[in-house]
Symmetry: D2
Subunit: 428 residues, 4 copies
Amino acid sequence: MILTQKENTMIAQTPPMGWNSWDCFGAAVNEKQVRENADYIAKHMKEYGWEYIVVDIQWYQPKADSHEYEPFSDVVMDKYGRLLPAPNRFPSSEGNKGFKPLAKYVHSLGLKFGIHIMRGMPRMAAHNNLKIKDSKFTARQVADPNSICFWNPDMYGLKCTSCEQGARDYYNSIFKLYAEWGVDFVKVDDIAREYPRCEKEIEIIHDAVSACGRDIVLSLSPGPAPLERAEHLKKNANMWRITDDFWDKWELLLNMFERAEKWCTHSGPGHWPDADMLPVGALRQDYNKDDRTRFTEDEQMTMMSLWCMMRSPLIAGGHMPKNDEFTLKLLTNKEILDIEKVTYSAHQLHRTSDEIAWIAPAKDGSAVYIALFNISDKKKKITFSLDEAEIVAKDAVELWSKKKVKASDGGVSLQVNAHGAAVLKFCR
Amino acid sequence: MILTQKENTMIAQTPPMGWNSWDCFGAAVNEKQVRENADYIAKHMKEYGWEYIVVDIQWYQPKADSHEYEPFSDVVMDKYGRLLPAPNRFPSSEGNKGFKPLAKYVHSLGLKFGIHIMRGMPRMAAHNNLKIKDSKFTARQVADPNSICFWNPDMYGLKCTSCEQGARDYYNSIFKLYAEWGVDFVKVDDIAREYPRCEKEIEIIHDAVSACGRDIVLSLSPGPAPLERAEHLKKNANMWRITDDFWDKWELLLNMFERAEKWCTHSGPGHWPDADMLPVGALRQDYNKDDRTRFTEDEQMTMMSLWCMMRSPLIAGGHMPKNDEFTLKLLTNKEILDIEKVTYSAHQLHRTSDEIAWIAPAKDGSAVYIALFNISDKKKKITFSLDEAEIVAKDAVELWSKKKVKASDGGVSLQVNAHGAAVLKFCR
Amino acid sequence: MILTQKENTMIAQTPPMGWNSWDCFGAAVNEKQVRENADYIAKHMKEYGWEYIVVDIQWYQPKADSHEYEPFSDVVMDKYGRLLPAPNRFPSSEGNKGFKPLAKYVHSLGLKFGIHIMRGMPRMAAHNNLKIKDSKFTARQVADPNSICFWNPDMYGLKCTSCEQGARDYYNSIFKLYAEWGVDFVKVDDIAREYPRCEKEIEIIHDAVSACGRDIVLSLSPGPAPLERAEHLKKNANMWRITDDFWDKWELLLNMFERAEKWCTHSGPGHWPDADMLPVGALRQDYNKDDRTRFTEDEQMTMMSLWCMMRSPLIAGGHMPKNDEFTLKLLTNKEILDIEKVTYSAHQLHRTSDEIAWIAPAKDGSAVYIALFNISDKKKKITFSLDEAEIVAKDAVELWSKKKVKASDGGVSLQVNAHGAAVLKFCR
Amino acid sequence: MILTQKENTMIAQTPPMGWNSWDCFGAAVNEKQVRENADYIAKHMKEYGWEYIVVDIQWYQPKADSHEYEPFSDVVMDKYGRLLPAPNRFPSSEGNKGFKPLAKYVHSLGLKFGIHIMRGMPRMAAHNNLKIKDSKFTARQVADPNSICFWNPDMYGLKCTSCEQGARDYYNSIFKLYAEWGVDFVKVDDIAREYPRCEKEIEIIHDAVSACGRDIVLSLSPGPAPLERAEHLKKNANMWRITDDFWDKWELLLNMFERAEKWCTHSGPGHWPDADMLPVGALRQDYNKDDRTRFTEDEQMTMMSLWCMMRSPLIAGGHMPKNDEFTLKLLTNKEILDIEKVTYSAHQLHRTSDEIAWIAPAKDGSAVYIALFNISDKKKKITFSLDEAEIVAKDAVELWSKKKVKASDGGVSLQVNAHGAAVLKFCR
């Protein structure tokens, strides 16, 4: 039946917005840093829609201190093989309280709380043969010794086919725990590009989320997820990565246009192709406190324009309290952020070696948005034909500069900086 | 510059509509048959937008009598290696008048005239070493002995790189002739899927069309054209095939949904991905006078609905004077045909094993079209969520039955026949 | 320098011959069974060249009871992560004596002793962070959490590049132990087909063998090893598998002809492409005491003929004490076995859909061997041209029947059974 | 039946030796040049086994003047579409005498005569619709308009499947003509690497050769022929190319070792993998009369050594009358040339980054040949172990220097020049 793709249609009706700890703190993030970002966002960004505060990878590893993973490290878990926050890094979790206290704090700010997990169970749970909660199976029976992640050494995947019930029991046991903690968002890693190997595992996780008793946004990582499995992803997840990790390099940003072009028709309520975190402001703080994004300001506006036009989730990656004025403005341009909520059916209009144009109609018919990107290395004049976009209206506002733009018969002409963007809103 | 994709933006501002002789007469079509179809279309279909009357392949071959090609047959051409209609099949061309008289007749009905050509020049022009008109090159110098078509034996491709000026001279010589004849539409064959081999040849043909002094719609065949070369196609042609030949088989129709999904964002004024002719009514008349389309009526409505939603050109393939009442109605449903003209940014909403949904917003914001396809083999109820499509309006008209449909909170529910379609128009 | 391929040229100057426990007992073999086979071989087969008695996989696993592997089972190892025989299965190893007593017994029979190992170290050695003997590295530092075997769950591969010295230390530590035990043959598994991933690991193992202070034949498994790395294999190992596991099925035997054809030119002193164990006599005794080879007698003679012509190592796989008269005769046909020692430069002469012919000249010029295989499903007469093989001599003996065969001008004609073989020895 | 691979076993019992016009004269060779080479060979080389005088491509093209092909040129043929020598280039053919007079002259010198043909029939034979001799089919019916050669524009392939009898008739008609002319060798081009497309065409040509009434060596070109079709080639041809065109570049010579390694076991009476012509002496005379081989003398000895060890046909490519003393000696080293006739079962022994060794036993058991190649760019000492090659004899002669070499226990040590070779003959 076409009606309901997901049991839970209350969440992610528009693309999720929030913050994630990876770009600034890697695997080493601690509770103090999370709280500082939550505080900042509640004060400066919440009103623009930013809400999810997400703790990324290895919060269960006491010794994590960078973006690298230490093999065979000891991890914190309960007697059922369920990972727990390392109390030395997340003091409020002391006494097996898990993330409940931190989630409560984030909620108290009017925000939502999220965590990252790897698919599978800790390798040590299998080697030590722990019991699975509320299950007749043991960890040894459910873990698959051949299913490992090639870039992180912590987990074994589960025997989702040969011991399906055991796999369901384990995933139910952890999502129930997350629901008890008050988690609103779970980013599951080592899974989105692992088709067809992890197809069944995705379905089991989706079912565990649906059954856990709490609204939880399900985010799959890393990409590239396979385009040809778009319908499976739409049915089973709220967002999924369309690239490998995205960082502050122009080549990666330029490359995102192609991915956005292919995925744009799959964006919609409850299911959002995800172009990954926004590497803005203070980054890689675990290595160097002075490190900031290497994107130019124009490139950052290009990134925000493209993410909004394609309706990607927006997850800021920088250490927010260190935002400068530009970064905060970039993230709080209301008219630009509105595109995520008021448009639909966006797509690329065309592309030359120098320029790319996107179109996004407003759902209520009141406006059409046109984004013009200068992908060349020089400032240049871009002329845009209204006929090409089949736009009736004549006048527009450019949303970064907030200036009016007048169209002649030949269309609209604008100077756009190298690697920069202009976003035109044509109102009827 | 983004402004103008093609020098000639007056043509093909909406998807071309017309008739083509291939599906009903193969390579054997004659002047009488063309005139009969033109007469019928002028009388019954012109007011709905049908206008191009196109003579398909091998009009220069005196002995063509079916959909098959005879190797090494003698062809009619002038002393410059330019093919001419075979006078035994096109009597009005007698005396080297070419298609001028027939074009004139078609124009007199208020319609437009088109022809099919193979890329390249006749093999015999090269072997007999003819001169090229207004050129210092001879046929032997310009023909490429290694560039042949694997399914038709008539032509050699041209040395578009190693003797570019000669190739330009030859293509200019034939398009000038077509302009003199009054040709409005040229379908160039053996070229659209031949990337990268024929990339340069496509550009040279585009230039020859632009320089010929007459508005000519340039259509490229056969498909599948490569999706990754969409921008090159948009720049150089008005329409291009996205499949190999399409015929009246459900498997081919079902398969078109995937192609339409990928290509839909590339439809726009002057450039239209082409899902091929509509095999409706009386087909394959060269083999059997009683042969008619094997599509069910529901399948034909599915085809028309998809072609219109994706804004494909519409080129009827049947022998029109033999249309029955259903076929004529199918081709003259004004509200369905309007979708081609009033919408933009259409795309597939989603797909299950049973159902497919498409959305197309009206350019002026006044309406949203939703097409619901039952791709299962049984009649079934399809329920559609307005939330999923982000539609504000509540009430719709189904455009094939012309019945009103009311949406509840759960959306819209409709019975749709096996392989059938419903097209809903939600007005604000 | 071409002179020496391996430091140790005393061993494997002709293809190794012996017995292995896998085909008859799988992972479940015990000490009693090994001794019974050694006793039998010493008494009945030693004089024909059979000498290596090899204990195959998982001798360290107390619960192994079949050809299957139990994931996450506990294994017997010392405090340096070196595996030890499970005393419940190998009682003489009690008190950490390892295989020393069993090797001593085998040596007392005039035979040699071998074991099987998986590449890498036990997963539990890494998770429990054991020390590596005579090394500054720990198991956690040397084990590679991403390097696993997809069909056996016991081990992690080693960081042969990123922690090369640690990997060398571990391999040196185990081969020193094996030398102390008196091991003469080590079959290393999960490695021969794992190019390029395991190329460095093969070199390190080769070095550990060379440095261990004892002559040990190094055998690599499983296949297919890549033909294009033949020179690397010849330099680093004494034998390596050219197929995946070989069993008693005609399809597998037929398929070996192709592999033999490709690999034959790589056979020579110290380096032998290995067509795998001979599944003859009583097999799969862990499942069914009555199970015997499914090969027909003709097929077994075909197998022996091919293995000898291509000079593959000969490792019997059945439970030898249960040999019937045919099996023992098959394995002790002196003239056939001689081919391994007196010939060189063998190769396939040609192949039709029915027949295959191989040739092998004697090193001393005194004879030429021709093997004729009937690969059809019917008995048939095979005629063989001496001209084709460039043989000067006229008369031959067929070595299975021990009958004289006379050549006419047309060559030699013989009746050969379906799936059977004839081996002709032409003497000057 | 294994006995006879080819009906005609009298020919090519050892690898064919001779001369071909391509390397020195390209498509432009004329009768005078052919006669000069035949005269020279009769006088200086015949006694060493050189016998076939082969006229290469486009002898039917009056205007051929280099190694390039002119598209759509007029060709000389009879009324049955059979090509004839262009009388302006081959005066003795005047009056439709074909190559009969030239063949007669070559025969009078005690040599044999050969020609090159392209597979298929002249394109003009099809376009002009000629009759096929002794056939009910016409050229138009038999030519395949889709089967062309991508590097030569003269011919169409034949419809070997859809009009098999017609194809047989045409090939029979030309081979009968060649038999009448007295042709002893036909090199068929555009065919050896065209599997599976030309598999049937090869069989039909083989049958036409067998039925023509004269012993004709059938040589297939160009390579690389596919190794996996070795048995088909052995059954249907006397020699076939294992590379694309071979020229005087070290990279191509070095690359031949790999090909030789793979193909060596397929050499035998009547069927010879062919490493292509020997580009020695005066080459490319159609471009520059002073052009000579770019191979060093050492490289030429390496080439001769490898060709002889692998038993490739030997076809000299230079303009023989311009041979200098070195070239003539190179081509007339009797002991080296003997290897082709007295050995069998040759193969590569091994290869390092610097050195390659080959072995070839004498058929009569009296000797073993070892070739040592220095493939490094520096002169170096090569030490060779007799144990490795399983050689009993101790003393050898080096066949290029004709010096005795004594083996010690460590084997044989020799200085070999960069890119050079030593060939040792060990006698019993």
